[in-house]
Amino acid sequence: MSDNQGNQQGFWSRVFHLYYDGFRSMTVGKTLWLIIFIKLFIFFVVIKLLFFPNFLSTKCDTEQEKSEYVRHQLTDR
């Protein structure tokens, strides 16, 4: 193994241990991560999927159709 490869492995190993040891030694952080995961689940799985589709994508299939749709919205009102 070259020195360069050794240094690279050492770097990634240090990065891994930074996160691994950091997460293991958390106290209040564990509660915060739980809140973050619950929040992201609610945002991206519940709210985004169920209530916030891309409106234009539900009406049109192509970019051309979307621009036509918006044109009608802006010229017919």
Partner: protein, 525 residues
């Protein structure tokens, strides 16, 4: 039509709710980030374990707020795609480019360095750790920059050209968008106000700990940094507030007129220091706009133009398209009635463009594209039913503006006094009224949040009815949804965000209470 108005109102209410909740988390992250970085710099310079303990105390609070607040802004992007789909398409890549830069910066810079900041105390060198702390703070501010650039474009659309073929605005100059006067004044005013809030937060928490007589040395160390950052923040917020006023006067005169409840402008226009608006006042009636007011002569002319004698147009002047130069000569600008006519002609041209494209008449297509872009700044006026529709909610804009300015003045005094106590602590220690000062410091925290939210209400309500200033009013920007659909998601957000806010406040208070009972003159990991 009534259904459409309901959808507009509910969509606006939903956006306001989520934006205000999001903004409760952001300024503390921006302000405390700088404060923690300064504290760690002092620690590295002095090598004092006491400063290390103080740094770690505030870093924990910063971490709680950051974690609870992270991704709350993403909801606003959901709303753009669903509730504001015409706007989202129309705005093209102009909104997308700054938001993409923000996403990359937020993800790579903040998420990388915040890990080093919290996990790296014994893993990296002290200097590298300090660099990570500063880069986290700077990264947060840079994230805010790109969001504010996108918002500023909605207030002052520039650096773009409308393409009628795609129905999108296309960026012609990234520099013009990113460095527009509106973007710069908005960025500095907003971020520096967050420094003020961070400073006040530290003063308030220290006030509580001093009231409980806990870790007094730690409090004095914290106050030193908190008061300095707060004072620098409020002074620069006031200076950039002045720049903002000049920018608003130039690009959004209707907003400035609403901020002051000014219906008929004048040379050497006074500014209302305190006033109660006449609730029945309408544009073009003969009623006095104020039931009561205390005004400072020449104040508004100076604020808006830095010239005591300059003419500041009121709401009626702007609608009529009349203003005056410094010699008192009438200068005609375009009236709103004329802008509505021009807007409707543009709307017709857009229909003709569609027909010309279908018949493959290239000459006509090019000619119409040039004609549309030549007068595009009037496009949004096509959708107004009457000129008065372009008047924002005057009472809300007026009162929130005056609340913001009044509290801003109070914060200056409060933070200067806090700084005085830092260097002359005996004044506070010996004072019989010290307890009341500590209580005042605690009360000042929510007051500063209200002040900060008021600033955003002035900025956003004051530019109504526009989603994009002069180009697109709300009623056109909105998707063809039912009001009931938007109401459901409004209440879901109200519940979720209230729960997050309770969690944020609860965990922060618990951490402050718990940590303040330990000895903060030594390092507690």
């Amino acid at each position: 039509m009534e259904e459409l108005i309901n959808v507009v109102d509910w969509s606006r209410a939903q956006f306001a709710l989520t934006a205000i909740y999001h903004w409760l988390f952001v300024p503390l992250t921006l302000g405390l980030g700088i404060i923690v970085a300064v504290m760690e710099t002092i620690y590295l310079k002095t090598k004092s374990e006491k400063w290390l303990a103080t740094t770690k105390f505030w870093m924990t609070i910063f971490g709680v707020n950051f974690a609870i607040g992270v991704a709350t802004g993403i909801i606003l992007e959901f709303e753009f795609g669903t509730n504001w789909s015409n706007y989202s398409w129309f705005v093209g890549d102009i909104f997308g480019a700054p938001l993409a830069v923000e996403g990359i910066l937020a993800f790579f810079m903040e998420s990388t360095f915040i890990a080093v900041m919290f996990f790296g105390w014994k893993k990296v060198s002290p200097k590298f750790h300090l660099a990570a702390t500063w880069l986290t703070a700077i990264g947060a501010s840079l994230s805010a920059l790109w969001i504010l650039v996108a918002n500023a474009w909605m207030q002052y659309p520039t650096g773009c050209e409308f393409n009628p073929a795609t129905m999108r605005n296309e960026m012609t100059s990234f520099a013009a968008v990113a460095l527009s006067p509106m973007a710069m004044s908005k960025f500095f005013h907003t971020v520096l106000s967050a420094w003020t809030l961070g400073g006040v937060f530290v003063c308030g928490v220290c006030g509580w700990m001093m009231l409980k007589k806990r870790n007094l040395d730690h409090c004095w160390r914290s106050l030193k940094v908190g008061a300095w950052v707060g004072v620098i923040g409020i002074v620069l917020t006031m200076i950039t507030g002045d720049t903002s006023a000049v920018t608003v006067a130039k690009y959004q005169p209707m907003k400035l007129a609403a901020m002051e409840g000014l219906y008929k402008g004048d040379h050497g226009q006074s500014i209302v220091a305190f006033g109660i608006l006449n609730p029945s006042k309408q544009a073009f009636d003969d009623q006095d706009p104020y039931l009561f007011d205390i005004s400072i002569p020449y104040g508004l002319s100076f604020l808006a133009t830095h010239d005591f004698k300059a003419f500041v147009p009121g709401i009626e002047d702007i609608i009529n398209g009349v203003t005056y130069d410094n010699e008192g000569n009438e200068v005609n600008t375009v009236s709103y009635a004329e802008r509505m006519e021009r807007g409707r002609r543009l709307q017709d041209m857009l229909s003709q463009y569609d027909a010309a494209t279908r018949s493959d008449n290239r000459l006509m297509v090019d000619s119409l594209k040039n004609a549309i872009n030549a007068d595009f700044k009037n496009f949004g006026y096509a959708y107004l039913d009457k000129p008065e529709e372009a008047i924002p909610n005057v009472p809300l804009t007026f009162y929130t503006f005056h609340f913001m300015v009044t509290v801003g003045g109070y914060l200056m005094l409060f933070l200067l006094l806090a700084l005085l106590f830092v260097y002359k602590p005996n004044i506070l220690i010996k004072a019989k009224w010290a307890k009341w000062w500590h209580i005042l410091a605690i009360i000042t925290i929510p007051l500063t949040y209200l002040c900060s939210a008021s600033g955003w209400i002035v900025a956003e309500v004051g530019r109504q009815p526009w989603t994009i200033q002069d180009l697109m009013p709300n009623k056109v920007a909105i998707s063809d949804l039912s009001a009931g659909y938007v109401q459901v998601t409004f209440w879901i957000f109200a519940v979720v965000f209230t729960a997050l806010l309770i969690a944020d406040i609860g965990i922060i208070c618990k951490q402050i209470s718990k940590k303040s009972q330990t000895d903060l003159d030594t390092v507690n990991d």
